[in-house]
């Protein structure tokens, strides 16, 4: 029950982030063109905010892609395996991806902490870490997703349950 609720909230949160970021990006980028051509002006901070939005959008999209395990992969070998072998391959690759995302989250957290310590700034004086903190957050969320895949697949492997179907993820 709790898992389903978390899954709904999580998806709503992702959707809200993606829609707000993309919507804001379209409006801001278009209004820049109008401003430049009609009034020969524009917001000074617009270009920098747009570039930061691309980074956030990339990370939000990446977190959303991990929900459905839709990241780009090669995966040519596992289709030749029997069902148990496929499940085992998934357990191993999910373990690997969970670990890598965890490391990415940890090291980007250290990067943010450092930038905070040195009081780096962006957008004319705002603390840079406000904008950088999305990195560890996004990688931690992806780590969590792949951990869920890992647990679900291991459970199926131990219980000899059939190949995985799409399940709601928190």
């Amino acid at each position: 029950m709790l898992i389903r609720k978390l899954a709904r909230w999580g998806k709503a949160g992702e959707d809200a982030a993606l829609v707000l970021l993309l919507g804001a990006m379209i409006l801001l980028a278009s209004s820049q063109i109008v401003m430049r051509n009609m009034f020969d002006s524009g917001f000074i901070w617009a270009d920098e905010s747009l570039r930061l939005m691309v980074l956030w959008l990339a990370l939000a999209g990446s977190v959303a892609a991990s929900r459905a395990d839709k990241h780009i992969s090669i995966n040519v070998l596992s289709r030749f395996l029997p069902a148990t072998g496929q499940l085992l391959a998934r357990v191993v690759t999910n373990l690997f991806t969970t670990g890598v995302c965890g490391l990415l989250a940890y090291h980007s957290w250290r990067f943010v902490a450092e930038s905070r310590e040195y009081e780096d700034t962006l957008l004319g004086g705002q603390p840079a870490w406000w904008f950088q903190v999305v990195l560890p957050v996004a990688f931690a969320l992806m780590c969590w997703r792949y951990l869920c895949f890992l647990l679900a697949d291991s459970y199926r492997l131990v219980r000899r349950k059939p190949a995985p179907k799409q399940v709601p993820l928190p």
């Binding site: 980074l55 959303a64 090291h107």
Partner: protein, 417 residues
């Protein structure tokens, strides 16, 4: 070092996400070179320092929107009205419409889904063979990669630091060559059977134009804006996204407002998937360049390749293999920074390299075992994958021939620069 590489390679072949593989290899390299591993976050953050990247989410979203509306069928009707009078008309219509649509939607396989559903039954009705249709629609879905404003062209410009508008100009003739060669093949195969689809009729042209009056300004403004230098690429992308949103949702009302968040989400999954690979590749590329991988690659290559021609042969073989195992976006961000310095040594223009790279990678969409379009077509038209392999094969051969011509005739790419 070699063992690590092998393990990572195996994990990739068993389906671990590519971004995780690349991130792991970058972190491992940092660790070995005694560099603080948190540098990977600094490299990743430099995504926020590339203004052109803005074009990628905006064009992708616009492409998804257009493919969800009735725009594909209007495009087919208009192309039919303009080209349908030719012998073998519908085959040419299919090729032209697919190329145009792919250029605008960023080569992500949506073309087969959006246009294939219209073209496949229409081709059968016009009396073309089933096998021919399957091959035609599958291979046409990757045409148009070389035309502005396709995402791979933009991404190559970003990675290789080449002006994107010169890439847009360079792609025109090579893209046309592919189109013409496939059209010629289609005419030749159906020389006995194919009849003109219809008489040319001004009335039909007018009708088709009137129907697509809202979409017509889009290519004019975008391509005109980019080629004339009036718009930067990212500005053209913003105009496209906003215009497509207003037209399809508010004016034509073909997409209910409720659907828009879903379309945004769908399209951003792809963008997130591409950009996260770009982010971690920035780190892995940097460490590889720092530790002299391009130089070693050059030394290795020059130990058995002397002239430009033999280098191009080797490059082509390499790209064909690469295209068969890696998707175009990952290949671009991973491989271009390493082979560009080597290619420069052999006197190859960066712009020409880009066109060769994309043209060769385009074949990767159609090469067994992992060609993306083969799977999409197999899924979409409910045909066994082996049947799709066989049907696509002759088209693959024609395209391969065109790629060889593009590779060894640089002037074709460079004439408009």
């Amino acid at each position: 070092m070699i063992v690590t590489g092998l393990i990572l390679g195996l994990l990739a072949l068993f389906g671990a996400p590519l971004f995780a593989i690349i991130a792991a290899s970058a972190m491992w390299a940092y660790y070995r070179e005694d560099i603080d591993v948190s540098a990977i976050a600094i490299e990743f953050f430099s995504i926020a320092e590339m203004p052109v990247l803005l074009a990628i989410p905006l064009f992708t979203f616009a492409g998804y929107l257009l493919s969800e509306s009735q725009a594909p069928s209007r495009l087919v009707r208009l192309t039919q009205a303009l080209l349908g009078w030719m012998p073998g008309g519908l085959a040419i219509v299919s090729l032209a419409a697919c190329a145009f649509f792919t250029a605008f939607t960023g080569a992500s396989g949506v073309t087969i889904i959006a246009l294939g559903a219209i073209l496949f039954p229409a081709l059968a009705q016009a009396g073309y063979g089933d096998k021919f249709n399957l091959g035609l629609v599958t291979s046409a879905g990757s045409l148009g990669l070389l035309f502005a404003p396709s995402l791979p062209l933009i991404l190559y410009g970003i990675v290789a630091q080449v002006p994107i508008d010169s890439l847009f100009r360079a792609g025109i003739l090579p893209g046309m060559l592919m189109l013409i060669m496939l059209a010629g093949y289609s005419l030749w195969v159906n020389r006995g059977t194919s009849q003109p689809l219809s008489q040319f009729s001004w009335q039909e042209v007018r009708g088709a134009l009137r129907e697509s009056v809202w979409e017509l300004p889009l290519p004019v403004v975008v391509l005109g804006g980019i080629y004339s230098g009036y718009f930067a690429v990212s500005e053209a992308a913003a105009v496209t996204a906003l215009y497509a949103l207003i037209v399809e949702v508010f004016i034509l009302r073909e997409i209910p407002l409720k659907r828009v968040p879903d379309i945004m989400r769908e399209s951003m999954l792809l963008v997130g998937g591409i950009l996260v690979i770009l982010g971690v590749s920035l780190a892995s590329t940097n460490i590889m360049i720092d530790s002299g991988v391009p130089q070693r690659l050059l030394e290795w290559v020059s130990s058995f390749v002397t002239g430009q021609a033999s280098f191009l042969i080797l490059l082509l073989l390499f790209l064909l293999v690469l295209g068969a195992i890696l998707d175009i976006f990952s290949a671009l961000v991973l491989v271009v920074p390493l082979i560009l310095p080597v290619a420069l040594e052999y006197g190859i223009e960066p712009v020409h390299l880009g066109i060769v790279f994309l043209a060769a990678m385009q074949l990767g969409y159609l090469t067994p075992p992992v060609g993306l379009n083969l799977f999409i077509a197999s899924y979409r038209f409910e045909k066994p994958i082996t049947e799709v392999y066989a049907a696509t094969f002759p088209f693959l051969v024609i395209l391969l021939l065109s790629v060889v011509i593009i590779t060894f005739w640089p002037a074709l790419s460079l004439v408009f620069l």
